[in-house]
């Protein structure tokens, strides 16, 4: 073993009825991001730089729930959050409540590198962004028509709803939904926007890093913070590994999921895949989530107990895989 490794994700908890063309779109984006990361790793860019770069790419593309294309909060605006952690020294940075910062993960990095703190939120974070001269845009930039529609559906989700993206089977849409009562975070899976994007990397010097970014839960209360910006929950990296999680925020926070993977490796001596399997199996109770992880030995692993997880991974010895389902 040894050598670099990288994994990316676009969220866990996928509608099993997701149309094939959308599945293809997702896989294409994951592949593109993976290749971007790989080319940088081959040029010896450090893990912390690679995770930031790759997550920026995922934020910029409107397909997944982060940056542009973020899920909408209850009042129809976007409130984005992100965190990044450098396993080499366990420095970290996080941001929440952003609505004009084009790349939240980069602001999180600046919090880590350029501020005396580790976590800035809401107007304080936006002020810092202005001071740092990062790229700012109008809130509308992040809002996609599709998500405006999804927000409406989410608000109606207490009653039976249909997903207008999926071709209706005659007029039996109501029963179609009743037949697939898959829910995540209280929303039917057809309306749930898989939360977050993330990237974990170990570079060819064995340094691990992780980054996670999201718009959060569709129709969330304004001011709601999920697991993505919380160090130890959605993101964690130390000298042994780098981890990024996605799924039901509550379950990930209660389970301190990202830290858990590292803790069982550190304190129980488990290998990466064992640790990931253990955490997914034993630490989620009734919650649904997924995660990607790399180890300082060049291993990569992923695990999820949801229906699907948008993910891709690659290692220096040529292994590469992009997948959605089990």
């Amino acid at each position: 073993m040894g050598g670099w490794a990288i994994a990316v994700h676009g969220g866990a908890g996928v509608d099993p009825n997701l149309p094939p063309h959308r599945q293809e779109e997702a896989k294409k984006l994951l592949t593109r991001c993976l290749n971007l990361g790989i080319s940088k790793l081959r040029s010896n860019l450090s893990a912390i730089d690679v995770v930031e770069l790759v997550v920026r790419e995922l934020e910029t593309d409107p397909l997944f729930n982060s940056g542009r294309g973020s899920a909408l909060a209850a009042n129809g605006t976007v409130e984005m959050e992100a965190s990044i952690m450098d396993g080499n020294g366990r420095r970290c940075g996080a941001v929440s409540g952003l609505n004009t910062v084009k790349n939240p993960v980069s602001l999180a990095r600046l919090v880590m590198d350029k501020s005396p703190h580790s976590y800035l939120a809401f107007s304080g974070a936006e002020d810092f962004a202005r001071q740092q001269g990062v790229e700012l845009v109008e809130n509308e930039y992040f809002i996609t028509e599709e998500n405006v529609g999804m927000l409406k559906l989410a608000k109606e989700a207490n009653t039976i709803v249909f997903d207008y993206r999926i071709p209706a089977v005659g007029s039996e849409t109501c029963s179609a939904v009743a037949e697939s009562p898959l829910q995540m975070n209280g929303l039917p899976i057809s309306v749930y926007a898989p939360e977050t994007v993330g990237c974990v990397v170990v570079d060819n010097q064995g340094r691990c890093a992780a980054a996670t970014s999201t718009g959060g839960l569709m129709n969330k209360m304004n001011g709601r913070i999920g697991d993505s910006p919380l160090i130890g929950a959605g993101t964690y990296a130390c000298n042994l590994c780098g981890v990024s999680c996605t799924g039901e925020g509550e379950a990930i926070i209660r389970g301190t999921l990202a830290r858990e993977v590292a803790a069982v490796m550190e304190y129980k001596g488990l290998g990466l895949q064992e640790a990931v399997d253990f955490v997914i199996k034993e630490r989620l109770d009734e919650g649904f989530a997924g995660l990607i992880a790399v180890s300082n030995k060049g291993d990569v692993a992923c695990g999820f107990n949801t229906t699907g997880m948008f993910r891709g991974c690659a290692t220096e010895d040529g292994f590469m895989e992009v997948n959605i389902w089990e």
Partner: protein
């Protein structure tokens, strides 16, 4: 087995020369909070209720950095945060960026019990507070003269630092009597276990003096400042950034679970190995009714008691035999 409780009023650079009139109100508060916590446990109140009521008491006390008496941001405002966790269910609640809520810990509990979320912050949290009808007051209620002074001193020290070409060491002790270097006094917190092994933890703070507006520390981060599961309950204090990256509260529990360390050993390990000296302290109880209080700072206001009659109130590291 039996009940146990521990309370902390912040870890930091508390000089042994601290004037009596500064020390006594804090010691008295620790004693009082211990008593009301113990009385509540004896009256069979749940640990979750106990930790909330003790932390409310400390939030209301202007001598501690939480609720009234919170340290100020660089703009002279107050931004309070808190979190609470129930060991049995691992349900939790957290809030940040509060400016008018009299008892942040109670709002954190409401987030846990009345919303589908865990963590609400800033405007959204304030709005939720109003919806819930919790007690809110004008922000000036929380601001004390002592903290206005503290902010002034820190801002002046920073200005002075810029004037000199020689960098001032971060841990340089200040000599003046009023500048007692306690800008690190982090939080208040309480952990409790009842005789059935139910555990709970709660932590609350105004944050770091002269902090940037919008800065969030370890206190509302589950796993960093607060954690409880079926093994133990932990409340940590100190330099937020250090406690966060070391996931202090979670690590104590993880060491017990994965390495079989005792509560005391786990707490000592985390405090000694995972955070730099001068950065953190914690209080913790175990399902078995044990209690431990650990610090690597000069001092930490603290108190604890167990059902078998042990009790302790302290500020500086106890002389162990």
């Amino acid at each position: 087995m039996g009940w146990a409780i521990a309370v902390q009023g912040g870890a930091g650079d508390i000089p042994v020369t601290l004037a009596a009139e500064r020390r006594e109100p804090c010691e008295a508060a620790m004693r009082h909070c211990l008593k009301i916590g113990v009385d509540a446990l004896k009256a069979q109140k749940s640990p979750l209720d106990v930790v909330e009521l003790v932390v409310r008491e400390l939030e209301n006390n202007p001598h501690f950095n939480a609720g009234r008496g919170s340290v100020l941001t660089r703009e002279g405002t107050v931004e309070m945060e808190a979190s609470i966790m129930d060991g049995n269910t691992k349900r939790c609640g957290a809030v940040s960026g509060l400016t008018t809520v009299v008892n942040p810990i109670s709002l954190a509990r409401l987030v846990m019990e009345k919303t589908p979320h865990i963590y609400l912050a800033f405007d959204g949290a304030e709005r939720f507070a109003r919806e819930q009808g919790v007690e809110t007051v004008d922000s000036s209620h929380f601001i004390t003269q002592a903290n206005i002074e503290r902010l002034k001193q820190v801002q002046e020290a920073n200005r002075v630092q810029i004037d000199y070409t020689k960098p001032i060491q971060k841990d340089e002790k200040k000599e003046t009597p009023t500048a007692d270097g306690d800008s690190q006094i982090g939080t208040v917190g309480c952990v409790a276990v009842d005789s059935h092994g139910n555990l709970a933890s709660a932590t609350s703070t105004g944050g770091f003096v002269n902090k940037m507006v919008g800065r969030i520390g370890d206190t509302p981060i589950i796993g960093a400042g607060t954690y409880a599961n079926n093994l133990c309950a932990v409340s940590a204090t100190g330099k937020g950034e250090a406690v966060m990256r070391a996931t202090v509260a979670r690590d104590v529990a993880a060491l017990m679970e994965f390495k079989g360390l005792s509560l005391k050993e786990a707490a000592a390990y985390v405090i000694e190995e995972s955070v730099p000296r001068g950065n953190a302290g914690l209080v913790a109880v175990s399902a078995k009714g044990e209690v431990t209080m650990a610090l690597n700072t000069t001092g930490m206001y603290r108190a604890c008691a167990t059902e078998d009659g042990y009790s302790e109130i302290g500020i500086w590291p106890s002389v162990q035999n």
